[in-house]
Symmetry: D2
Subunit: 356 residues, 4 copies
């Protein structure tokens, strides 16, 4: 008989929490035991998200992590930054491992929270215990961690796109520019004027220019090939009038003359055995030579394509993922599978839904 993992979600009624519920219900070895939501305490989940009617109707409880921990094997946190760090303690971690879909345990340097997030981290001593939850890079570490810090959506996409190139010393690390495009769900369900339909439909804008909080994650994970040197990256996110999806276009100067096939070799070597990475081989200017966010919608894939701009000696990498799946809830489940020694793809075999 397959073991069943009993899980709880703290912050279950945001978009990320809701997507986690959707995917966990599709996981053959998970039972959702408790949902906590500050704003929806006492409400049934299906009254908050009517699409779940007939599937799932747990009532949301208060955010009492310690109490929840008593009846589960794992707690997911999907809270605004700063909130998980308040709740995660040594006491809690003795009871259950946690996967934090927020940003509170992603950065190893406590000072970075002050610099990028504007708050002093309340539990700096826990930062060293957490594993940065990008399985393709750190699966061994994740498998034995008590805290898994699920990466940011943009960060997941940019790191997966660039890591093999940096490790392979293919790019001049100082030359890297990352231009990100995200659907609106990345900004969450809290109301604000810039997410009002008429304010973001039929328009595109850059935001948090030179200051987006996923930048330090990228820099932490994209250290130089020898793993010792950190170099600053330029990252500019853009808001796209669509519900889901992230596309990252990354630019870097080639360290030496090379071929698209040699780049492909690097990617194939790094990701050939990875189920969730799909490589788009360059094929002249074929219709589908590059990832598009629609090809990954609803799935845990990160698709990667590349091209050399021969005239400028630059490599252009295009990567796509679903910000709520590989960029959040799907990756969290992939991490959970690692923690509980299940095949990483368990419960994550969704096929992209199209057109949608």
């Amino acid at each position: 008989l397959a073991k069943v993992i009993r899980v709880g979600i703290v912050g279950a009624t945001g978009y990320v929490g809701q997507e986690l519920v959707r995917l966990l219900l599709d996981h053959p070895q998970v039972e959702i035991k408790a949902l906590a939501s500050k704003s929806k305490t006492g409400k049934s989940f299906a009254s908050v998200y009517p699409g779940f009617s007939k599937f799932f109707d747990l009532t949301c409880v208060e955010e009492d992590s310690l109490k929840m921990a008593e009846s589960v094997d794992l707690l997911f946190f999907a809270l605004p930054h700063g909130a998980a760090a308040q709740q995660v303690s040594e006491q809690l971690l003795k009871l259950v491992p946690i996967i934090d879909l927020g940003s509170d345990f992603r950065l190893k340097d406590p000072g970075a929270y002050e610099k990028w997030y504007g708050f002093k981290h309340p539990r700096p001593e826990l930062l060293s215990q957490s594993a940065y939850g990008l399985p393709e890079l750190r699966r061994k570490e994740i498998a034995k961690a008590r805290i898994v810090a699920n990466p940011g959506c943009y960060a997941s996409c940019a790191i997966l796109a660039l890591k093999p190139l940096i490790d392979g010393s293919m790019l001049d690390p100082k030359s890297i520019v990352i231009d990100g495009k995200s659907g609106v769900s990345g900004a969450g369900r809290s109301l604000s004027l810039d997410l009002h339909f008429d304010e973001c439909n039929e328009t595109v804008k850059a935001y948090k220019v030179a200051s987006h909080r996923h930048t330090p994650e990228m820099e932490q994970e994209l250290k130089s090939a020898n793993g010792k040197e950190t170099f600053p990256l330029t990252f500019t996110p853009h808001l796209i009038p669509m519900n889901r999806g992230i596309l990252v276009t990354a630019y870097g100067s080639l360290a030496a003359k090379t071929s698209e096939n040699a780049i492909g070799d690097l990617y194939r070597k790094s990701y050939g055995a990875e189920h969730f990475i799909r490589l788009f081989e360059p094929q002249g200017q074929d219709e589908y030579a590059f990832p598009e966010t629609r090809f990954v919608k609803g799935t845990n894939f990160c698709d990667i394509g590349w091209r050399i701009d021969e005239r400028t000696g630059r490599l252009i990498v295009v990567a796509a993922l679903d910000n709520l799946v590989k960029g959040a809830a799907g990756q969290a489940i992939q991490n959970m599978n690692l923690l509980f020694d299940l095949p990483e793809t368990t419960g994550l075999k969704q096929i992209p839904i199209f057109p949608a």
Copy 2:
């Protein structure tokens, strides 16, 4: 050991065919043996729809139904109107049952094809052998049919919304007006100016006013309570700038004064045991008192809500479904399950994806 149904799809690369592939790959007892596509013969399915990469990579063959029938237990047809009728013969039906997702076997009256579709049906003798594939109404008939005529998307939605009311003699049948709203995928993947992004984005229009071809299906299935009288319906479809989803708003004069709860009783009696029908009980003007297409996206549900307009003595019914699932591929699989004596919900337990 569970039996495996081997299936083939004729017309596999349109939106409906593609959605059928997506859902069939999620069905625990199906093996897709052959895909036929006139326009994509010789191409791999994943090159036509790159989202399927890593899941499925069958090569499309020519549309030779008889040959395909040799190696499968069932053939799906997802072709433009007129095309399936050319291919389905007694000879074919001796080999396999078929489910036609097009319109060629929906209408019992051969003359209706001339009137509504403008062509003379080439196999009128087969029309009486087909079952109209709306399981909630005709599951016994479907289970033993050789031809299942999968209903039109608008027709599925309107019939499910109105059938219990008409059978219950709740409405004056002559008063019924059906106003439909559909996402663009309902129009298929063939190019035409009115489906060009800039021509249908950020606008709404009525089309095929008083002449849409799903009208005769609705009339055929929505006969008077005694089942003898056909009455004409007014149906107006509208094109909505979104990918998926159908919303039907149906209006009818109440035959006698009644309550919303009494209407609810009728619906509960008809659909209480139906997994794929979800009833939205009237709750004053609560936020989610009515179906919305987002609540059914990617699923086989048909959601139904209603309200009495006391001032006019009219009942207003709002129903929603996903045009590519309950309005096409999902319903076809529900029919397949009936044909092969599987639980109707097998392979159809998708949870709505949101936001998407």
Copy 3:
């Protein structure tokens, strides 16, 4: 030298107020003297709506109508319901005429405010002094009014579509059903979850079923042919994932057998001399036989098309307008032109912007 009308706007920073500014700046004989905004007092208009930079940079003042009235010839009110009625007094009206783009002076029956809006009208004595500001129907009355009650967006569209038919006794008035579809800007700029991008993008829903507040306006203006009898209408609005535009599909049973051309005669007789009404003559099922909201975007037009459903004896009328122009700010300017004896089209010659 052409006279200049000095105007002020109370409630200038909502979508309607902002559209009024856009159009007034394009009017050759208007000077905007004062903008009032409760939430943006002290802010420059261009800081609230950066698109106006280089055109207009008045600073928003407090909502003190009496003070504003001292320096203007006309005041526009664009406030939530109930707010204008608080500010409009005999004293104010001695100083200036007003055009209210809200709903506070549309209904003649004070009791209707309690019934439909849930508040007791604070100045019922003013209701009889107001003119319902639909120029095509009431231009003489408007020209000499002190209060012009600018119609609701849905109401403008439905009334213009149906009035000639009812006056011509073409329809059984009891049979009329009005199905409305609106872009999201009709709901205004105030934040609410159902207007959050991800909640209304890629979905469609009915709302305020059998209870929308534009219904009593329609009923008031669509009295029976003899002008004496009021009959209740069924009206259902729907939210469409687009920024602008209203489409109304109206259904009614023909009082007697007639032809589409005879219907056209009625429309031509009523509207032949109206610049802002464009008739779409039935032309079989030609591509553009019906109005679409894109054809009126940014303009003061109301486009009307019609078709007889011979099988049911029903007439189907489709009408489109821009909810912020003919449904609000443009119509207000048309009314202003009437008040100041200018040609109605002055400042209202915008051509639809497409694709947009």
Copy 4:
């Protein structure tokens, strides 16, 4: 009495041609005498674009430029690449000056057509006679040209964003990366699968990576500060699910340490007197510190904002324009005004329409 410019448009029924008609009808000194359209010869313009009904109803004629030239003062060409070059001859230019909204006269180097467009230019001798029609850079040249080559939409945006910086030696020219995002109308009205609504709605993709044809225009106009050296640029365009608008995010390494204010000084010096350039001064992370495409919709503005990424020593410039106005038809009219010695802003005072 103001002079009237009589104009003709060759290729009037594409999106660019249609936008030209919209704007020219709003120009006080223009009369449109002739419209030519290969695909719509003999059709009235308002039957092709029903929004123009009541404004304009010229019948489209054949594309006979020489014949058209007899009755006009200026010919606009809005044709696919290669087509204008076939029609523009010395003989034609003796009759009228022309403004080409296509790409046939933009590049000075005939060889560039073979390299980037894949055809041999049929009239290389005319290339030296043409002026690159970016008025902010080349207004003197334009005013006396017989051929004005209206710039590409992306090129207009990128060049305006970068020119002052390069002329001011602010950036290391080899470091420049240009990431463009465009609405779908930039791709025109010709049908193709990737512009089918369901294929480009709710998704984002890169296209023509390292090979887009606006790249050589940018390089031609963005020569080094001394005007002698051409350097290759990396440019990647992306397709955004919206009708209109271009956003360009340009990245470059600062040649020396400087301040955002010093950058602003450069821009103010270059563009302070330019009506159509609006500068967005950096203001911390204020809501509207950067251009967004909605702020320029329907107008001839190019909005520019910038920020220094202190950590990387890179400057990030964000610029927005309406691809059909400043990126095509509006700029063509600005050029026309120069040719006919009118103020550049004549007929180009449209205010952005929002929300739209």
